[in-house]
Subunit: 143 residues, 2 copies
């Protein structure tokens, strides 16, 4: 079967997904209220985004009387992982390390997050190469 074609969720749509993921399920009126406060969007805008997410298959709607209740059809963590992995995949591999360091320096991480990262890093250190080459030019041209 076809592996779920990378559903492209746009920035605005992503905000709708975040709320849905957090609440587990939402009605459009609920979402409209939340987005009005969080993003300053009109109800019409929210309706459009919900519709597009349904069409893209990122949300599922279950009829409940007059209206629908919306549920996410994709999980949050995998979606986040994919978004991040895709971005890093488009960056110069020689510089992802520095980029990551700069990022970690700015982010707020919990004690547990830090511990997990340290564990993963310690493990990676065992087999990490001395250096990573730039991959911005085709055919492994010197950089």
């Amino acid at each position: 079967m076809e592996a779920q074609t990378q559903l492209e969720i746009s920035d605005a749509e992503w905000e709708v997904m975040r709320v849905t993921w957090t609440l587990g399920s939402v009605t459009s009126s609920q979402m409209a209220e939340i987005m009005a406060e969080k993003m300053g969007w009109k109800t019409a805008t929210v309706k459009t985004l919900l519709g597009r997410l349904i069409k893209k298959g990122a949300l599922r709607a279950e009829k409940n009387g007059r209206a629908f209740i919306y549920y996410p059809t994709v999980d949050e963590q995998p979606s986040m992982d994919e978004a991040v992995t895709t971005l890093f995949g488009h960056l110069c591999q020689m510089r992802v390390g520095q980029t990551l360091t700069d990022l970690v320096d700015k982010l707020t991480l919990s004690q547990n997050d830090i511990a997990s990262l340290q564990t993963v890093l310690a493990e990676k250190a065992k087999t990490a190469p001395e250096e990573v080459d730039c991959d911005c030019l085709p055919g492994g041209v010197k950089c």
Copy 2:
């Protein structure tokens, strides 16, 4: 003065920037040749992208006889940092730690990259909170 308004560089444009950053300067014919191999793009496509990047101010063109030589006007590392920071800023803050861990697990990092990360993490651990709250809903609603 106006702080350089976040120049939005699209995915396709980003590929052109990577090559320019790596080479320091390029002619359009050079870029066309490289992108034909790396991305399978027609010369016309490359011309369009170079033009758009000039217009956006990400590249600068210096006349050299009949043609131009293109130079980046923004640096690579800051651009990468910004792209990454922006993405993470749109993710549930409660989950960025896990996301980062998943990412690091997949990336290829050099020994030095790992060492740098470990240093930053050790420092952060000193003041890191026990946990980070979800910020997907407005007004700090419970999650």
